[in-house]
Amino acid sequence: MLNILDNKLDDTLNPVEPFLRSDRMPHIWCPGCGIGTAVNSFARALIESKIDLESLALVSGIGCTGRVAGYVKLDSFHTTHGRAIPFATGLKLANPKLNVVVYSGDGDLSAIGGNHLIHAARRNIDLKVICVNNLIYAMTGGQTAPTTPGHAITSTNPYGTFEPAFNLPHLVEAAGAVYVARWTTFHVRQLARSISEAFSKKGFSFIEVISPCPTLYQRRNKMGDGLDTMKYYKEKSRIRHGAPTGEVGLTLNGDIVVGKFVDRDRPDYQTMMRAQYVESLGERYIEVPEQESETECVCG
């Protein structure tokens, strides 16, 4: 259970409000979109895991989910299309104390940013990647994504898609992620718990959030509205923790296997880097010092 009430938040506020830039509301997301729900679960995970918000940075790419960075009251970076992960890599390496979350969409992370996704997983860089997968390019009007299931209608495959889709949990597990989970936006509590759990892992964590795009994906594929999609998620989701990720690929109308698929330990990039330098350089190795910007300040 979430311990929201234990945190003594102002009970006149929505418990997630302190995590949001309320001066930027209303947001741009459509009615029925799942991104806001996923952000809500993220905020609840922050409450639950009692993460120090000052040491937390959030990095997004471009797209509907890319806008998350603009709505969270954190140090937040809205970067270029596909490049949230390499930006986050630089941020983490320059300041190892930071908890760095990458929050972006399926097209951003697995198409234009696909190379960075697999290399970050290979390096096991300590990033928490939350991928909202709406199975489509939504911001630009509903084009085919690498995640679009076969036969789905999109604006660039108006007669149905025919190219095979990426099974993202399988991809990132093969590339080396230490934590891989998938939930839908129906599973708000399980999602919050998974995000919370990912914060306790050191290394590359990947959480896929299957989310509706009623405006483009559901409409074009005659799957109803946001509520109909919640019913679909409820009926068709199968919780299978530890399921072999090779078996969790998505189809147009089929079951959605959800759960925690991978939870393993291997040294993260910075641990390996430090060990290698200490072994080779001994006392000549100097760790990246904590940032001390205040003392070097020139401006008043």
Partner: protein, 386 residues
């Protein structure tokens, strides 16, 4: 402030321009670099990879130049001074992130050791054909600073200057080397740390409540905060207001983009570094930069020995373009001779600045070697007869 002595390899060295550039970056305080191997620039990050773990910094070899050119900006917002290093094909891939650095006002340095192009071109041979790309390669209206060293010593000295400009103006600085300057080995003197001036980050001292990430105080360069300090600021490549919040109105776009221009334009005279020689009586002025300036020197000396009144203007800063200096010269000389290792790039800027008051002679070269000094001499002779 003075350089951190940990990064400064004080002494007299016999090293090439690539290695000197690396030492300049370390002396300037660079403690993060992200790179991707590409000839003829790789030696810079190879040396950095060997040196930086001993001075408290990090190097990471990324999966491509797209990643390298944005990872370095993550490093900057994490608190480090950071740079990346590349050559033509990689520079092309980095263009989007030069625009991102300009828009988000991320202080950083892009080193481009120029080789022959287009495309894969001449990986191991020199050119100076990325000069316009350095200025205009990313989309939209923005300003950058570009410096052109002509020796290993300058690769050291001017790399420090590049970092200092980047910090002062919060702008990406292009460090435009060429293959010859990168690979030529000469004496490089690295002074003691207390004789090296480095510009610290323009970090805010404002409280969290008072801090406006893109607010300015008249000098047009906003104060910066780093992730993890409690400011909870937002950075975006979208058009943004003083809070850093996206704002899609023409009025905010106009204010922001004009400030990104004017913060550099208003400081042009201070940023524009040139070397002048024998201009007092000159009728002809040879304008050159990088390795070509050393070839041009021979032609200028030969012309002077023939009694021709020739002077030298070397562009150390290529961008912003020193058009005022050139306009003033144009008013009382006959002609400019502009040799460069391309088929005509900076010569067009010279022509524009001269505004018809002096003739302009291009001495082009497609790259792959340097000019024969006689080609430049012939152009000087031709110009003197006009």
């Amino acid at each position: 402030m003075k350089a951190d002595p940990h990064g400064v390899l004080t002494g007299t060295h016999f090293i090439d321009g690539d290695h000197a550039c690396c030492e300049g970056a370390l002396a300037a305080g660079a403690r993060f670099a992200a790179g991707y191997p590409i000839t003829p620039s790789t030696e810079i990050v190879e040396r950095f990879a060997a040196r930086v773990p001993t001075v408290g910094g990090t190097f990471i070899q990324m999966e491509d130049e797209l990643a390298a050119s944005i990872a370095l900006q993550g490093g900057v917002w994490g608190g480090a001074k950071a740079f990346t290093v590349t050559s033509g094909p990689g520079f092309s891939l980095m263009m989007e992130h030069i625009g991102y650095a300009a828009m988000t006002e991320t202080p950083c340095v892009f080193v481009d050791v120029q080789r022959g192009g287009p495309s894969t071109g001449l990986p191991t041979l020199p050119a100076q054909a990325d000069m316009m790309q350095a200025r205009w390669g990313s989309h939209g209206d923005y300003q950058i600073i570009a410096l052109c060293p002509n020796s290993p010593q300058e690769c050291f000295d001017l790399t420090i200057r590049a970092f200092n400009f980047a910090e002062e103006f919060r702008v990406p600085v292009m460090f435009m080397m060429d293959e010859v300057v990168g690979h030529m080995t000469e004496k490089v003197v690295i002074p003691p740390a207390d004789q090296i001036e480095v510009t610290p980050r323009k970090h805010t001292r404002k409280s969290v409540e008072d801090y406006l990430p893109y607010g300015t105080n008249g000098d047009q360069v906003p104060e910066m905060a780093h992730a993890g300090e409690g400011y909870k600021f937002h950075v975006t490549g979208l058009t943004h207001d003083e809070r850093g919040y996206p704002n899609m109105t023409p009025a905010v776009q106009d204010k922001l983009v004009r400030r990104l221009q004017s913060k550099i334009q208003n400081a042009t005279e201070r940023i524009c570094l040139v070397e002048e020689d024998q201009l007092d009586d000159a009728e002809i002025v040879v304008i050159s930069y990088g390795i070509t300036s050393r070839v041009a020197q021979r032609a200028i000396d030969a012309a002077r020995s023939r009694g021709l009144r020739v002077g030298k203007l070397r562009l150390i800063t290529a961008w912003p373009f020193p058009e005022k200096i050139i306009a003033e010269l144009a008013a009382h000389i006959k002609a400019f001779v502009v040799p460069e290792l391309n088929l005509g790039q900076m010569v067009h800027e010279v022509e524009r600045a001269a505004h018809g008051k002096a003739k302009t002679y291009a001495v082009s070269h497609a790259g792959g070697g340097v000019h024969n000094p006689d080609e430049i001499l012939n152009a000087i002779v031709e110009a003197s007869r006009c």
